[in-house]
C-alpha cells in the first residue's frame, strides 16, 4: 500500500473517532470540541480574514527573524571554525545558550524593546542563530582535507581557497543548519506571540483561549502544525536531499 493511502486512512480513522465521540457526548465540547466545530471556526476565521492577517503577520516576523539569524549564524559559524580562540571562548557560551529555549529571553526582550514586534523578532533570531552557528562551524571544520590539498596544488590559497572550496564544500551542513534554524525559529515565534502582542497566529490562539473558543484554539494549532510540516517536508527536506546527492554524500 502507498504511504499516502496509509496516511489518509489513519487520519480519517482519528477524525471519525473524534467526531463520533463528540456526538455521543463522551466528553464536553469545552474540553474537546468536535472536528465539525473546529472546521467551522477555521472557515469563519478565514472568511472574516483574521486568520489571513495572522498568517501574514506571523510570516513577516518569521522571515525577518530567520533571515537575521541565518546571517548571524553564518558569520559566527565561520568565526568559530576559523579562530581557535573564539571557539574556546565564545564557542562554549554559544553551546550553553543553544540549550536555553529562546523564549526565556522574552521578559528581557520586552524590557529592551518594549511589548512589540521587535521583542518577538529578537526571540526568533535567538531561536535560529545558535543552531545555525553550530552547523556552519561543523560544516567548515569537516571539509575534506583532500579538497583543500587538491585546491592548493592548483594554486588556491587564502580567501580564494575559502570562497571557492571551503565554503561550497560545507553547504550541506549549512542547509541542515537552516532547516533546524527554521524549526527552532517557528517554535520561538509561536511562543513569543502567545506571550506578547498581535496580530499573529500565537496571539489569536491566546485570544481564543481567553474567550473560551476552544474550536479556534484547536484550529490554530492545526494550522501551526500543517505549516510546520509543509515547510519542513516540501522545502527543506527536498533541498537537503538534492544537495546531499549532488555533494555525493547520499546516493
Amino acid at each position: 500500500m502507498q504511504p499516502a493511502v496509509k496516511r489518509i486512512i489513519f487520519f480519517a480513522a482519528i477524525i471519525a473517532f473524534w467526531e463520533i465521540g463528540s456526538r455521543l457526548e463522551l466528553w464536553m465540547p469545552i474540553i474537546l470540541p468536535s472536528p465539525t466545530m473546529v472546521w467551522d471556526a477555521l472557515v469563519t476565521g478565514f472568511e472574516d480574514k483574521t486568520l489571513i492577517y495572522d498568517l501574514a503577520a506571523s510570516f513577516k516576523r518569521l522571515a525577518i527573524g530567520l533571515g537575521i539569524s541565518l546571517v548571524i549564524g553564518m558569520g559566527l559559524g565561520v568565526l568559530l571554525a576559523k579562530s581557535k580562540t573564539a571557539d574556546e571562548t565564545l564557542g562554549t557560551v554559544i553551546l550553553a545558550l543553544q540549550s536555553v529555549p529562546s523564549i526565556v529571553w522574552l521578559p528581557l526582550a520586552i524590557m529592551w524593546f518594549g511589548m512589540n514586534e521587535k521583542a518577538v523578532i529578537f526571540v526568533v533570531v535567538l531561536g535560529g542563530a545558535f543552531v545555525m552557528t553550530l552547523n556552519v562551524r561543523v560544516g567548515i571544520k569537516n571539509v575534506s582535507p583532500l579538497y583543500i590539498k587538491a585546491a592548493q596544488t592548483m594554486g588556491a590559497r587564502g580567501w580564494d581557497l575559502f570562497a571557492r572550496v571551503i565554503f561550497p564544500a560545507s553547504i550541506p551542513y549549512m542547509v541542515t543548519g537552516a532547516r533546524l534554524a527554521w524549526a527552532f525559529a517557528w517554535r520561538a515565534l509561536m511562543a513569543g506571540e502567545l506571550l506578547s502582542t498581535g496580530p499573529g497566529l500565537g496571539y489569536t490562539l491566546r485570544y481564543a483561549s481567553d474567550f473560551g473558543n476552544m474550536s479556534l484554539v484547536i484550529g490554530v494549532m492545526i494550522i501551526i502544525g500543517v505549516i510546520g510540516s509543509i515547510v519542513d517536508q516540501l522545502i527543506f527536506q527536498r533541498v537537503e536531499k538534492s544537495v546531499l546527492q549532488r555533494w555525493g554524500l547520499e546516493s
Partner: protein
C-alpha cells in the same frame, strides 16, 4: 637535473613524543620528461615524499629543487593526482577542469584548454556531468585532465589507479602512457604495484621501510608499448621482488610482534 631531491629527511613525533624517522637521507634526481615510479610497501613514506615534492608537506631537513627553484609551497608547475579523484562535487566536469585556470585566462580560453584535455582522456562529451554521475575511473580521468589543463611541467601521481578495478586500471595505464608520450611531462608516480611500475616507467625507485630509504634505482629499458615483452617484464618483477621481500617481511614481523605485545 630537472628535479633534485637533496638529503631529505622527515620525522614525526610519536605518542611518547619520540621522533620517528619517516624518510631518511633521500637523494634522487629526475630528468626532464622522465617517467619515474616510486615503489614500496605501505608505510615506507613514498606518499609523504611525493607530498613534500608537491609542497603540501614540509621536510624536516634537506631541500627539493624543481627546475632550479626551491620548493616551499604548492604551485601550478606541479600538478597532482591523488588516489581519490578529489573533484569538487558542486562543480560539473567542465567547471572542475577550469578551476585552476580561472585567474589566468578568459572563460573561453579556459574552456578550450579544458576541452582539449578532456578529449585527451576521452571524456570530451561529459563536460556537463557532475562527479557523482561518473564512475570511479571516469572521475580519475577528469582529475588527470584537471591536473594537465594547468599545463604543469611535472605531474605528481599518488597511487592514482589504486582504488580502481583491474580492467579500468589497465585501460588507464594505456591512456596515461599516451598522454605522457604526447605531452612529455615529467612524471613522478607513486605505487605499491610492481607490475604497474614496470609497465609504465623509465625508472623505478624502490623504497624500503622503517625508516623510509631508497634501496634500489632500476632502469626499465623496454620499448613501449610493453605488452609484447611479458617475459622481460616478469624478469624485472622477480628482480624487484627480491629487494622488496625483505622489506615486506620486516613489516609483517613487526606487525606480528606488535599484535603479540598488545
Amino acid at each position: 637535473m630537472f628535479i633534485t631531491i637533496n638529503q631529505v629527511q622527515k620525522q614525526y613525533s610519536d605518542k611518547n613524543n619520540q621522533p620517528v624517522d619517516i624518510l631518511k637521507d633521500i637523494n634522487l634526481t629526475v630528468q626532464k620528461g622522465e617517467f619515474v615510479s616510486i615503489l614500496g610497501p605501505s608505510g615506507c613514506g613514498k606518499s609523504t615524499l611525493l607530498s613534500i615534492v608537491a609542497g603540501l608537506t614540509k621536510a624536516t631537513s634537506g631541500e627539493i629543487l624543481v627546475n632550479n627553484i626551491k620548493i616551499t609551497k604548492p604551485g601550478k608547475d606541479r600538478g597532482m593526482v591523488f588516489q581519490q579523484a578529489a573533484l569538487f562535487p558542486w562543480l560539473n566536469v567542465m567547471e572542475n577542469v577550469t578551476f585552476p585556470l580561472k585567474k589566468e585566462m578568459s572563460k573561453k580560453q579556459a574552456e578550450e584548454q579544458a576541452k582539449k584535455h578532456l578529449q585527451m582522456v576521452q571524456l570530451g562529451n561529459y563536460t556537463g556531468h557532475y562527479p557523482h554521475e561518473l564512475s570511479g575511473g571516469m572521475q580519475q580521468r577528469v582529475a588527470i585532465a584537471r591536473a594537465l589543463a594547468m599545463n604543469p611541467d611535472t605531474l605528481l601521481m599518488d597511487e592514482p589507479f589504486g582504488a580502481l578495478d583491474e580492467q579500468t586500471r589497465a585501460r588507464l595505464h594505456g591512456q596515461l602512457e599516451n598522454i605522457w608520450t604526447e605531452t612529455k611531462k615529467t612524471i613522478l608516480f607513486v605505487t605499491h604495484s610492481i607490475s604497474e611500475s614496470i609497465k609504465l616507467s623509465d625508472r623505478i625507485v624502490v623504497m624500503g621501510t622503517k625508516p623510509g630509504t631508497i634501496i634500489q634505482d632500476i632502469k626499465v629499458d623496454l620499448p613501449r608499448p610493453r605488452e609484447k615483452y611479458k617475459k622481460e617484464m616478469l624478469e624485472i618483477e622477480d628482480h624487484i621482488m627480491g629487494y622488496l621481500k625483505r622489506e615486506i617481511d620486516k613489516v609483517v614481523s613487526e606487525e606480528l610482534s606488535n599484535a603479540a605485545s598488545s
